[in-house]
Symmetry: C2
Subunit: 394 residues, 2 copies
Amino acid sequence: MTLKYADRMEQVKGLETREIIKFIGKPDIISFAGGLPAPELFPLEELKRISVRVLEEDGSAALQYVPTDGYLPLRKKIAERMHKIGVKASAENILIINGSQQGIDFSGKIFLNPGDTVICEKPSYLGAIGAFRAYQAQFIEITIDNDGMKVEELEKILATTPKAKLVYVTPDFQNPTGISWSTKRRKDFIEVINKYSIPVIEDNPYGELRYEGEEVPPIKSFDTEGRVIFLGTFSKILCPGFRIGWVCADKEVLRKYTLIKEVSDLQCNTMAQREIAFFLNEYNIETHIEKLKQVYKRRRDIMIRIINEEFPSEVKFSIPEGGLFAWIELPEEVNGRELLEKAQKQKVAFVPGGCFYPNGGHENSIRLNFSNMPEEKIVVGMKRLARILKEEMG
Amino acid sequence: MTLKYADRMEQVKGLETREIIKFIGKPDIISFAGGLPAPELFPLEELKRISVRVLEEDGSAALQYVPTDGYLPLRKKIAERMHKIGVKASAENILIINGSQQGIDFSGKIFLNPGDTVICEKPSYLGAIGAFRAYQAQFIEITIDNDGMKVEELEKILATTPKAKLVYVTPDFQNPTGISWSTKRRKDFIEVINKYSIPVIEDNPYGELRYEGEEVPPIKSFDTEGRVIFLGTFSKILCPGFRIGWVCADKEVLRKYTLIKEVSDLQCNTMAQREIAFFLNEYNIETHIEKLKQVYKRRRDIMIRIINEEFPSEVKFSIPEGGLFAWIELPEEVNGRELLEKAQKQKVAFVPGGCFYPNGGHENSIRLNFSNMPEEKIVVGMKRLARILKEEMG
């Protein structure tokens, strides 16, 4: 029998990136698909020591319920780290969540009525599109160039779209394009936002992974009116398996996130919160991040070199200054999904670019992750991809 | 400035049980409030060994992403345990979630349009009421007696309420009343459900904690049509800090839960999933549960003895055969919330019963948890309560 589902379920589909995780689980696959960090860089020995020490020092408290907003020492540590990137925050501005994905979902729940419009970058993060669809959102995509979202286009849309309720952006090494917004663009953006009083979700999972160029402060650091809700995560700088991220927002709006956290799943894993707080206390996470950056930069360079040297010259790409992804635009007649089928036969995976456009189109693009595979596999996989592309584009 | 929130936020309030967690965090409080398990019974030494072994044997895989549906060996183990209580299930029927609370939230997301009606027991679990309110649900409460939900009343409502989209029940040692449904009532219930083809959420966090009387199979075991969605959790039989529970449902409906899990927070904590799977492999959880039952039974007995001997005779209560809660009905003129204020001044906490009635009323009741406090504190706290009640009802 078929049960009767809510209307919103018509819009809920599986995320292609998560589907591919099953395929790439096989050991002989060379995957440029998921946004997976390099597992060999997880601080395994440190976490082994920490997991024992948390249970020895905190005892059963590490396994019991904690208040919904999260483990206070961790919230304090996160607030300190927010300070370093220019955001004035104390523990009262921090809510612990299951990775930044949960912050995106909660944002939909808090701000969107059915049929409301989310304004996002074109293209945008697949997981956000999926999360907002479950709240029956419509999408308006705003063009991005190498400096970020085009604010004149944004302003035109805000002036004419009363149903626009939320702006979702990933200004640092965007998923999927790798683009990072300039400081000027961020300031111009916040000026438009303040004119139209719309809440902004600044999703920032990759901001600390910069391989070249100058540091750029988050949009939240320019927000004087409490309209920007910042989402951070330990998934890319420590490990994703803990599912620990955070919302940083003004107290009034954070209270809404806390209420929603409470009725959604009560709280995050207590042990993981304490382990991360321990890690931040006992080890220097900045040193750890430096190590990640060195390795990821080399992997990025290798990937870019092969694109430069061996991909057909019609292919367009730009060099991401940080993050985990390179973005390729193919000639219009080449379809990313069809390309993936051919690549999978040769045991190479990536994500077709079309799925990052909520309103469809743009099938002639692909997203390549460079953080997950060791260098020699990047070489082999990229050479295979080059061959497939050459055949395809004859 | 105030941002514009979605309509659903008007119905979202903080859960009184979670608010009280902050108050009971102080060491000199005697708490009968939260549904907290006894922390001194958590298998701390075992989990210390396991956390190291998981990281040694599984390495970085224990810290990486896993597929949304969860860690396969854990799903298999859970399916085996479902078999033992009469539910035919394989790993394909199991989705890992952040405690059963997340399963309740997902049920609202999957089945409820704004204004739809949830049918529940009178009274019902506060966390479920809160979760469903965030989907703008209306509630119809069905009377329960000592055998469970009154099915004639249920049938009348189903026959006349087209907007009824979901039935939510906790048939085992219900939170808050401690009532457990008889086998006959479960069978009668499923017959009515099949007549009206409505999905049922069977929330079962306490089913394995029976202190006397015969085992009763879950409603899901009588479900031949795939209409019952069973929610289970390790929070009460192992520890709540892991935030690991499960949905057990027919494949078609489970697919919806998996899609929602994916867009909500991708997956559960990888490490916690592996640790529980290890625990189930290496230790006998049934032996562990036996130990819990012995301790909780003694605590229940002490609480009930003092109610019997020292509470005013006008107070009504029944002896729960399992679970974590005793439920007290006071004379109509006594208000549970006012009583709590007085009790808190004497450093005793409980949950006023009114909050378990989604449509209000019934303020003359209180819920007492007996699992969290050691015996001597139960004695002291209950004697204090008895004194307060005597003064009140003087």
